[in-house]
């Protein structure tokens, strides 16, 4: 009750800082965005040095960039949302197969991007982390050698990704004060509650993304598993992506509360969830087609739902916000 009253008093005072927002921005968001920019820059440099798909250095650099993204993807408001950078960086899922068709076109005809400027106007299926992953790991595309068009394409993709990550970092420098200074005259966030709601919604929607897409797509619907739809199947990182994604969720969730008991409880829950995910012991969730393999994924998915529900409840109370309107159905 005391906390609720303080929060209300805070809202009434435009200049009052909001500690949850400040912690999230300063301790989680800005460092993660800067780290992602560094990792993608390293990827672009690795591609310049050796663009061949089997290069261990290049593959490791790609993996590093993907890990960096999984710490950034939860900030689905502000720069990632309004500028469309999310799509240019991480276009997935691609259930209708736009990416393989676009890669085929780009590699077999003269219509593919030839410059960074071309790349900026290219379909999002040809851009970002997942396009590079296909070029390095997908046997349909990773057969090119040095000096071949595939090599140039990977270099362009990596440079484009690094450029977008740098832009994201730059945009966050301008955006952070808006998020932190929700006060009179700020049209992006009229008050601190709106800013807290943006952070909270980003977190819970990102966790839903893991459940519905990363776990849900291979699990399939109506008892029909679709292992071929698993994320990062070609790089073997399907399960690892989910595990790494939970680290990003945990970092944001813990920043949004200053209650030690809540922090400890959520940290333990995320640890436990990662244990259950590791227990699946099936890197690309290929075994969802078998009852036993499917059972393990179902168990982890149920555990995930329980953590999501708790994060939703505890932080909703703590921040005084709800998820708000989701599931847009415009006309």
């Amino acid at each position: 009750m005391i906390r609720a009253i303080l929060a209300a008093a805070c809202l009434a005072t435009p200049a009052c800082a909001d500690e949850a927002i400040d912690r999230a921005v300063e301790q989680v968001i800005l460092p993660a965005v800067a780290d992602f920019a560094d990792r993608t820059e390293a990827l672009a440099e690795a591609a310049e040095a050796d663009c061949t798909p089997l290069s261990p250095v290049l593959r490791a650099a790609w993996e590093g960039a993907m890990e960096g993204w999984l710490m950034v993807q939860d900030f689905r408001f502000g720069p990632l949302e309004a500028t469309g950078l999310r799509e240019a960086i991480a276009y997935w899922p691609d259930t209708r197969g736009f990416r393989p068709r676009a890669l085929n076109r780009a590699l077999t005809t003269a219509t593919g991007p030839q410059s960074e400027q071309d790349m900026a106007g290219a379909p999002i299926s040809l851009r970002g982390l997942y396009a590079i992953e296909a070029m390095l790991f997908d046997p349909r595309f990773n057969t090119y050698g040095a000096g071949e068009p595939g090599c140039d394409l990977v270099r362009l993709m990596a440079a484009d990704l690094a450029g977008n990550a740098a832009l994201l970092e730059e945009e966050w420098e301008d955006f952070a004060p808006l998020l932190q200074g929700a006060e009179a005259g700020n049209a992006t966030y009229f008050n601190a509650a709106e800013a807290r709601q943006a952070l909270f919604t980003g977190l819970v929607v990102s966790m839903q993304f893991d459940m519905l897409e990363r776990l849900g797509l291979p699990l399939g619907t109506g008892g029909e598993p679709r292992p071929e739809l698993a994320e990062s199947r070609v790089s073997g990182r399907t399960l690892q992506n989910i595990i790494d994604a939970t680290r990003g969720h945990e970092a944001l969730a813990l920043a949004l509360t200053d209650d030690p008991a809540t922090r400890a409880e959520l940290a333990a829950d995320f640890d436990d969830l990662r244990e259950r995910l590791r227990a699946i012991d099936d890197p690309v969730l290929a075994n969802v087609s078998e009852p036993a393999g499917r059972f393990m994924v179902d168990v982890a998915a149920t555990a995930y739902t329980a953590v999501w529900t708790k994060v939703n409840r505890l932080l909703s109370e703590e921040l005084g916000v709800t998820m708000g309107v989701v599931g847009f159905d415009g006309d």
Binding site: E81, T83, D94, F98, L167, G185, T188, G330, D331
Partner: protein
């Protein structure tokens, strides 16, 4: 339900506020439909300051509508496929008439008054084949159905009377949905912008042969005879084509897009289009991207304004008024946004200018 019918009949006989016009409803300049936290719906009259001057409960979700040019009366449409339109007396705060589309047709969410408010036109489609129709209603005599004319396309969404007071511009979305919302003809769709009159038929039709999967959905009229049309891309989701067109009669349309990744911020969706109050800009909003894109009348991109869940857009002197799903209203003048008010309403797509 019977009690409400009785109520409607009583109200229909009284024709409140007619002599006072919109002043009787608190002199709003805009109308917007919304959902409330408890799941109910309302229609709100707004001033340019963001102040709400009336609230009328609605029995169902309102999408868009039109304000009568004289009487404090608004027609509110449900979302597609719409089975009702409500005529609301904004002074009395009550629903006066409930319009139903003819058997075998549905309302498509928009309509417009013309002829000084004597007539109301409604965008409709036949459920069997999605062929567009403009329904014509006698707004001077209890909203009797007078007839209909073809819109010359499938799935018309917005239909608006042009500043000449005679020509009607129709955004024929091109999408076949029959009686649901699922799009059935994406591969073969042919949206168009049609100009027609209620008496003379089709005057001009504008198509986009290169971008046939760009569903033309919303309209606004800018200075110098420019029709601005906003689109929703339903083609390959990895592309990001222009979603705004500017058309001068007899000329080819100018298509407008933001540079680089910025265009991706629309998420291939625009919810509404409006001119600025000074007529020098055209704006489009995208709710999934939470962004307003501004363009000059020559088609050049002027800039973006971000606010989560942006919805409606209307002209304000010097710029735009916006609504959003967070309950906010803001003024955007010369690209600079300023918060005006926050209401308990989750605003729906459109902001109707009176």
């Amino acid at each position: 339900m019977p009690s409400r019918r009785l109520f409607l009949a009583t109200l229909a006989a009284s024709a409140s506020g007619a002599s006072l016009g919109w002043a009787a409803a608190g002199a709003p300049r805009f109308l917007a439909a919304a959902r409330l936290e408890d799941g109910t719906f309302d229609l709100v009259g707004l001033r340019g300051t963001g102040e709400a001057v009336f609230r009328v409960p609605l029995p169902a979700r309102g999408h868009a509508g039109a304000g009568h040019p004289v009487r404090p009366e608004a027609v509110v449409f449900g979302r597609r496929p719409g089975t009702f339109a409500l005529v609301v007396d904004c002074a009395l705060g009550a629903v006066m008439h409930e319009l139903a589309p003819p058997e075998g047709s549905v309302f498509n969410g928009h309509g417009s008054y013309l002829d000084g408010g004597r007539l109301l036109i409604t965008a409709e489609q036949r459920t069997a084949d999605s062929e567009g129709r403009l329904g014509i209603w006698d707004a001077a005599h209890g909203y009797a159905r007078l007839g209909e004319v073809p819109t010359h396309g499938l799935g018309p969404h917005e239909a608006r009377v042009m500043p000449d007071g005679v020509t009607i511009a129709v955004a024929n979305g091109g999408v076949s949905t029959e009686d649901g919302r699922e799009m059935l003809n994406i591969a073969t769709m042919e949206p168009n912008l049609a100009y027609l009159t209620l008496t003379g038929g089709l005057e001009e039709i504008v198509e986009l042969p290169e971008l046939r999967q760009n569903s033309i959905r919303h309209l606004a009229f800018a200075a110098g005879g420019v029709t601005a049309f906003a689109m929703q891309w339903v083609g390959a989701e990895d592309e990001a084509p222009p979603l705004l067109g500017l058309h001068r009669r007899g000329e080819a349309p100018v298509l407008c897009a933001a540079p680089g990744a910025e265009q991706l911020g629309l998420h291939n969706y625009t919810g509404t289009v409006s001119t600025s109050g000074d007529g020098r800009e055209v704006g489009i909003t995208s709710t999934p991207g939470g962004v307003l894109h501004r363009f000059a009348l020559d088609g050049s991109f002027l800039g973006a304004v971000a606010r989560g869940r942006l919805m409606g857009l209307a002209p304000l002197p010097g710029g735009f008024l916006t609504t959003d799903e967070q309950g906010g209203l803001m003024a955007v003048e010369g690209g600079v946004a300023r918060p005006l008010a926050k209401h308990p309403e989750f605003w729906d797509n459109h902001l109707i200018t009176l």
